[in-house]
Symmetry: C2
Subunit: 361 residues, 2 copies
């Protein structure tokens, strides 16, 4: 039934798991079965995705004791109150600690269902079924789960690895253009971090990706997952190099928090955030004018913003960044670039370069 499926493995010892990538995978019962240990399955989805795919996934889970909980759609609902709806659904159905959660949706659903799985009865299994480009290339891989707090993004959560990831490329057909672009921000990120060859490929193929060319998208998803899996395998709990994956995110989180969750998409904020990191790297003399132009041009070609919103002042940016998780013992650590494909984690930079970047100089 399934054609041309690719399987990658995230290598984490006894927490290793496969990522399946291909078209029409969500209806393939055989993909789910080896990864479900009890009989009880709770599908967690949202109001946008459920009408499109819930029945298909239910069909593939025929024979299990399946229930579902449908959350409102949007980053502004990624909070403790909405998380509690998942716990309530699990308890109302008397689900025990052998149950499995299936996260059917984008990054918000994956993060919330994953954290619910991490914390329900001190930890149950879950399966990621990402239906957006962003979640297929980023948030469904690596085990970061959690919710936002009014005072900071992703401040409450856990590391909890899924049993498997089922990335169905056919679901991208229903994705709004704006969300496709948001996903491309994370794809570009992998090129910028340590894969200059992929960055060059993206420069050649961005038009095809934006036009949803299936072959181009499949390749980009697989390469992104492979790049991310390598980083995660080397540093699961982000004690070191995994923080490279935060490229553009410290700036981006400040944009999201400053504008209120749900105003800018996460990927849009990361797109502008990567441009800010590139401009700061230019101010430091680490990137050339040409390299900066390549970064800004590719992000623009992905139909993403290259500038932060005017509403967030330089002062407010500074405040918001101070609370970011990358602050260590009072020291702000940022992911900056010495080259395209040569990103570094650094706390050792001229603060004037940051101020110039925030002021938009």
């Amino acid at each position: 039934m399934t054609q041309l499926m690719r399987t990658l493995t995230v290598d984490l010892g006894d927490r290793s798991y496969p990522i399946y990538i291909g078209a029409d995978l969500i209806t393939d019962a055989q993909l789910y079965r080896p990864h479900i240990h009890g009989r009880q399955v709770m599908i967690v989805s949202n109001e946008t995705v459920a009408p499109l795919y819930l029945d298909k996934v239910r069909g593939a889970l025929d024979g299990f004791d399946v229930a579902s909980v449908i959350l409102p759609d949007g980053e502004q609902y990624k909070n403790l109150g909405v998380l509690d709806q998942i716990y309530s659904a699990l308890l109302e159905h008397r689900f025990d600690r052998r149950c499995t959660l299936v996260a059917l949706g984008g990054g918000v659903i994956g993060d919330m269902a994953g954290f619910a799985a991490a914390s329900y009865q001190r930890g149950v299994n879950f399966i990621q079924v990402p239906t957006t480009l962003l979640s297929q290339v980023d948030s469904s891989v690596g085990g970061k789960t959690g919710v936002n707090h009014p005072l900071g993004k992703n401040m409450i959560g856990a590391f909890h690895q899924p049993q498997c990831v089922i990335a169905d490329t056919a679901t991208l057909a229903t994705l709004p253009d704006r969300e496709l672009s948001a996903g491309l921000a994370e794809v570009i990120k992998y090129g910028l971090i340590d894969d200059a060859e992929f960055f060059a490929w993206l420069e050649q193929n961005m038009a095809a990706l934006v036009a949803r060319d299936h072959a181009a998208l499949s390749y980009a998803i697989e390469r992104s997952c492979r790049d991310k899996a390598a980083v995660v395998a080397a540093d699961e709990r982000e004690s070191g190099q995994r923080a490279l994956l935060n490229l553009g995110h410290t700036f981006g989180h400040a944009i999201e928090t400053g504008m209120g969750y749900g105003s800018w998409l996460h990927g849009e904020a990361v797109g502008a955030g990567m441009c800010m990191a590139a401009r700061m790297s230019r101010h430091l003399g680490w990137l050339s004018v040409d390299q900066l132009a390549r970064v800004e041009r590719l992000i623009e070609a992905a139909k993403l913003p290259t500038q932060p919103p005017e509403q967030v002042s330089a002062e407010r940016f500074g405040e918001l960044m101070a609370v970011d998780k990358k602050v260590m013992d009072g020291q702000l650590r940022l992911v900056l670039m010495h080259d395209i494909g040569g990103s570094v984690i650094s706390a050792d930079f001229d603060p004037q370069a940051l101020q110039k970047t925030l002021r938009g100089d």
Copy 2:
């Protein structure tokens, strides 16, 4: 400064940690220092304990960047909403992921501060400073953390081991009689599970314990921690024998939920629950009349209830127990007794024996 301190180790590989037991330990700065890695320390306490001990602990943490958050006192406040107060305090003080939480109080504070530590920025360190007998002998040891849900006790949480446990026996001087008895329920539990010699010692020394004889209490705390640490070391995540520690708890949780959190103390419910487990074991022919009498007599001598509250009917008990975590794939598993010091986890029992127990026959 500290005299007659005993140190036990909970043996969990790279998550091993010491338990310090003795009088006047909470003011000993040298106990805390090796276990705090960053500079930021958040003391989590409650309205009852903070006026007694907060300044003493603050004094011992001189030189660190110390803040505190004071929660309302009681099991009814062990929920997601109150947990959020801890996250807010951490974020308002801009605490980073190298911070350390100090849980200063009883089991509720330890469970909540521990879960906040497990989930703040996906996991930070914490230190247990238990100030009740129950938390010194039970909840501060073993890494179970979490909060209650309106539909079930301890349904949201994580396994998260502390850096160390500082059990100051001098703090028991201010403990109300009712809470001392509640702690003795868990002490008796260790004897019933697998330590018949300790059970016999408790029969000889219960009057001294209730009268707060210091030597007797110190011995009981150390032996209880040792018994528990051995079980936890063998099965950290409760895939098997750790469930023995739930002796009396499936019945007890039903009492607590049925009466509303905060009406019965946890230890009181466990005391009655152990008597119910013993009576059910008698109905099954597993305990003799004499053995049952010894159990009920010791629990009574600890000034604990031996019967469940009349307000919780047999039917309601059945409903409440069905949602308990020990239900596996629809099968109710209970901790029952073949002997004093010979407890077993069993799903293989005559359901009539359970019904008789719930009806009080």
